[in-house]
């Protein structure tokens, strides 16, 4: 029961999605309506989307559990792990609150989510939360009772949306992620000096092609190489790299095809042994 049914599930879903690929595309001109294949394919893909999301949320629970265990075990980096959990927790608290403005209990709403400022047609401004803004009506939750009310669209002139979730994204997440990756520019520079040696014919060709691309992609390249950089760069990328990339793509597609076939026909068991 533990192994046969999972493999059966893989084979059934795999074959359904594979065959759906070859089902005729709906074509009103020829009178071909969407068939059950399209429905099966669409529903299975939606299932997979949900499961990937739930699987990811599982991973987060695991991360939190590991960090809590390490803190309990007096890991040397404990203060930093506390900072990690704290920053995650706070951002989740404010972000999730902002995502559930429609259903949130009023005291939580007013304390956790910054209100938008709504300018009415007569120029007066009120603070409140905009839930939905259609072309016919706008759904709001405004003081004092913060009940969900609908007002005609033309009674609202403009809305200044405020978001603490986007503020934290702009001031913490964006700069940190961009800067972490930009460290590599420094590492490439030090590796260029200390490790990239033309020790063999292959390595020399690699460094030469790298230099050609570096010169061909930037404005000064031509001036410094008497106009050679751009034509060499065009020839290299348009012919040599095109050949190499195409061969690598064809080779890689065979790997994907082989693994895919083994999974869809139920011959691949490695993922069951976890």
């Amino acid at each position: 029961m533990k192994r046969e049914i999972p493999i059966l599930l893989t084979v059934i879903c795999g074959l359904l999605v594979t065959l759906a690929y070859f089902a005729p595309a709906p074509d009103p001109a020829r009178g071909i309506e969407p068939s059950a294949w399209q429905a099966v394919n669409s529903e299975l893909l939606d299932w997979a989307t949900i499961l990937v999301a739930v699987g990811f949320l599982l991973g987060i629970a695991n991360l939190v559990r590991i960090n809590l265990k390490q803190i309990a075990a007096k890991h040397p980096d404990t203060p930093y792990k506390v900072v990690l959990l704290l920053s995650m927790g706070l951002f989740l608290l404010f972000g999730m609150a902002e995502m559930h403005v429609k259903w949130l209990w009023t005291p939580l709403l007013t304390h956790l989510v910054p209100s938008d400022s709504i300018e009415r047609a007569d120029g007066t401004r009120i603070e409140g939360y905009v839930l939905e803004r259609g072309d016919k009506e706008v759904t709001l939750r405004t003081a004092p009772d913060y009940a969900v009310t609908k007002v005609p669209a033309d009674s609202v002139k403009s809305i200044t949306k405020r978001s603490l979730k986007i503020w934290i994204y702009d001031k913490f997440f964006a700069p940190l992620q961009a800067t972490m990756f930009s460290l590599l520019a420094f590492y490439i520079a030090s590796a260029a000096f200390r490790a990239f040696r033309a020790r063999s014919v292959e390595a020399t060709l690699l460094l030469a092609a790298g230099a050609i691309v570096m010169l061909g992609q930037v404005p000064l390249g031509d001036e410094l190489t008497f106009g050679l950089a751009t034509p060499m760069h065009a020839f290299l990328m348009g012919n040599v790299v095109k050949a190499g990339q195409r061969a690598i793509i064809i080779g890689a597609s065979l790997g994907v095809l082989a693994t895919g076939l083994r999974i869809v026909l139920g011959l691949e068991r490695s993922y069951l042994s976890e």
């Binding site: 690929y21 020829r30 590796a191 076939l261």
Partner: protein, 318 residues
């Protein structure tokens, strides 16, 4: 006429997903199949009739998948029956053995980095097989083998692979559990941890096998500075330039899978490699024929509206 239609239907695999059948009436069958234009018209007619049942533009893909599956399973069955499918001796393997040999001469440990991805990545699974081969060699020579990992699950698999390697070499006692170490889950902290091992324990041979992301550059550079002989292997193209530039030998792209097949002789893997080779040869042949047909058609200015053999040939391949 009917025999002609049956012959046309059987012989010609039609590939025409983009035919906008403007007229609601079905295109007629060609009178004869003498010229390329007749074949083209035959394809149109067949495509029109098949459209309600199957997406005609995707028939070549179906044929390619079925053909590859047939060749793959045939080769796998041959390999299972013990028929010797020779895999050419890979230079990458010689480099591995040479690196371990050099570390033994200098009496210094070998460092094996199994990639930075989780165990579900196919390249990490194959890295375990290569690790078992390396562990067998180091156990035979009595050279210490250090395996730093970035993931607790992968560490468990590495321990198993090294223990198996020692058993293969007939020296189960050579297995030292704390040489397989979990450093950190964070990318740059993992690299810093390995740099620390390179500085303190001065391995003479560094082996990087598996899936790498931006770490390849940092590890290869630090290893080069400590004068170690370095052998790398990954199927991930983006990292190959840095490995090739900074390591003594690199196992590139598909060679990575071939090395695993060579080491383990696993029938399914050997069969897949064989099927891949046959399809590559077929692809090269198709390209050669297609290019010659296109070149002939290119130079001989065909009348507008009529179709050359090259058009028919390339339409067959979707």
């Amino acid at each position: 006429m009917i025999a002609l239609q049956a012959a046309a239907a059987a012989a010609v695999q039609v590939a025409d997903g983009t035919a906008h059948a403007a007229a609601q009436v079905a295109p007629a069958w060609p009178a004869s199949l003498g010229s390329a234009s007749d074949w083209w018209q035959g394809m149109d007619a067949l495509a029109w009739r098949l459209t309600p049942w199957v997406a005609t533009g995707k028939i070549p893909t179906a044929i390619a998948i079925i053909a590859f599956a047939a060749v793959m399973f045939a080769s796998q069955r041959k390999a299972k029956r013990g028929v010797e499918i020779p895999i050419r001796r890979l230079a990458g393997l010689d480099a591995l053995d040479e690196a371990i040999g050099r570390a033994t001469e200098m009496g210094r440990p070998v460092l094996y980095v199994p990639g930075t991805d989780e165990i579900k990545e196919i390249q990490t699974i194959y890295s375990m097989m290569i690790l078992r081969h390396v562990a067998r060699k180091t156990a035979e020579y009595g050279t210490p083998l250090i395996v730093p990992t970035k993931n607790a699950v992968v560490m468990a698999f590495c321990e198993e692979a090294v223990r198996q390697g020692c058993v293969d070499a007939g020296r189960p006692d050579a297995f030292i559990a704390d040489n397989v170490r979990y450093l950190s889950d964070e990318q740059f902290a993992y690299c810093a941890g390995i740099a620390g091992i390179m500085y303190r324990e001065r391995p003479a041979a560094n082996i990087y096998m598996g899936m790498f992301y931006a770490e390849s550059l940092i590890l290869a550079e630090t290893g080069f500075l400590h004068g170690a002989i370095q052998v790398a292997g990954t199927a991930r193209q983006e990292q190959l330039p840095f490995f090739v530039a900074a390591c003594d030998y690199t196992i590139m792209g598909e060679e990575y899978y071939a090395v695993t097949a060579y080491l383990t002789r696993d029938p399914s893997l050997v069969g897949t490699i064989r099927a891949g080779d046959l399809v590559k040869v077929a692809a090269a042949a198709l390209i050669a024929v297609g290019v010659t047909l296109a070149s002939i058609a290119g130079s001989a200015a065909a009348l507008p509206g009529t179709h050359t053999l090259s058009d028919v040939y390339s339409r067959l391949f979707g």
